[in-house]
Amino acid sequence: MTDNKLVVQNLHAWYGKTHAVQDISLSFPDKQATAIIGPSGCGKSTFIRCLNRIHETQPKARAEGKVLLDGQDVYQEDPTEIRRKIGMVFQRPNVFPTMSIYGNVAAGLKLHGGYSQDEIDSAVIESLKKSALWEEVKEKLDESALQLSGGQQQRLCIARALAVQPEVLLMDEPASALDPISTARIEDLIFDLKNQVPVVIVTHNMQQAARVADRTAFLYLGKLIEVAPTRDLFERPSEKLTESYITGRFG
């Protein structure tokens, strides 16, 4: 039984009047990948965005509850520090268009400061290697990040997030905008990454959840319906709702 790196207790979240996340409690063990699945609009993106406090940066967005990172409630800490510790990869690659490939990966480190040039260089190389992009870009680190393909840009975003050495990595449907080959690459990545950093991945693709995640949680209309080891959830779901979703009756 691995320790729980991230523990969510009674999380609620609103967009204006919409109660998007309703009383969810969930734990994320270390060295594991946890998938969050559910139909569109079930609140899975909102949920994950509450974990690194990105949710509250939208106007009229609010959250309540506890999110404990190693026992500390992130809502009591400085958000900029939390967001460094809990990294995020978004649905569409959002590389910084005015920076080079090197610049993108180094961006987080440069923000926090206190690193020597050598430290930044080696961190960039290491992150690019971890996100399986190094071989493809090592000759062109100073070129614009925009000339990379979609799949490459997303891996760049992963490298950028990894460079600041987060303790948890959140991924909001990271492969949904990508072609199958890039998707497969990213799934391989997650497989490798989860041994170093616990990964929480939101996905609408059940097969993807089955492929990469150790545990899977099913959300519906803002509530947590069921969470279990992935195989158990898919083969022997205990809730009727879960079963309906998995067998494709809705969503």
Binding site: D78, T80, E81, H112, G114
Partner: protein, 299 residues
Amino acid sequence: MRPPKRLRRRLKSAVLLGLCGIAVLLMLVPLASILYACFVNGAGAITPDFFLKNPPPPCNPAAGAPCPVGGVQDAILGTLLLVGLASLIALPVGILAGIYLSEFEDRPLARPARFLADVMTGIPSIVIGVFVFGIFYSFAEAGWISPFSVISGYTGAVALAVIMIPVVARTCEEALRLVPTSIREASLALGIPRHRTILRIVLSAARGGVITGSLLAVARAGGETAPLLLTAGFTTGSIFGLSGWTPSLPVMIYEFASANYPNTTQLAWGAALVLVLMMLLISVGARLALRNRFGGRVA
């Protein structure tokens, strides 16, 4: 090393973002100052005489003998005539040109016309004044008009029209573009000929934007000074129409401000107050009208 740096960053963030707020306040200072100055200095001039009399001769206040104040009647009349004639020329031409740019955009002339219209809106208005002056000057040289008619209300109105046409054309085009294609198609499918589709149906659907754009162009013309300085001249006497030197409120403000006699200076402030209030009213009105029409933010 990490915590102190983080505090500094947060402080820097707060300071810089606070400066942005201060920037907004700083921007409002001149506006407030201008409005205040116009009110304080000009409100006293707004008497019935303001609208009924013409400016007095320049005079320095001698001890015990106050200077007559007078009014700006013919400057107002001049502005109305100039802007009126200019609008009569510019609005039909501009709206038709806007229709062409929007409804006939696949024709070869559309792209160069649009580009040149944008170019024209960027040309300084004084250059337009020089241009129109030059045209009428050539007419005089060719003997078509008398040399004394070169500077006249007609010249001034043409100058204002030239300034207005590209502006009206582009705003009209933008307004027409917002009308969904399906409306045009529905009309044509009913057998309504194209010219009537455009004039009755599409133009009508876009009338809010067209009217607003035209109003803003007219307002802008009312505030123009430099081209009128060159083409319409100035006089403090009565005018009977647009032939000959035609005064206007903006030019009058300039002339009196430069002359610096206390009684006429007050008239200048009064005129400035009237001008600013009118421009603000039209601006705000246009903005509100556009917002209500589109139910959201305008710009």
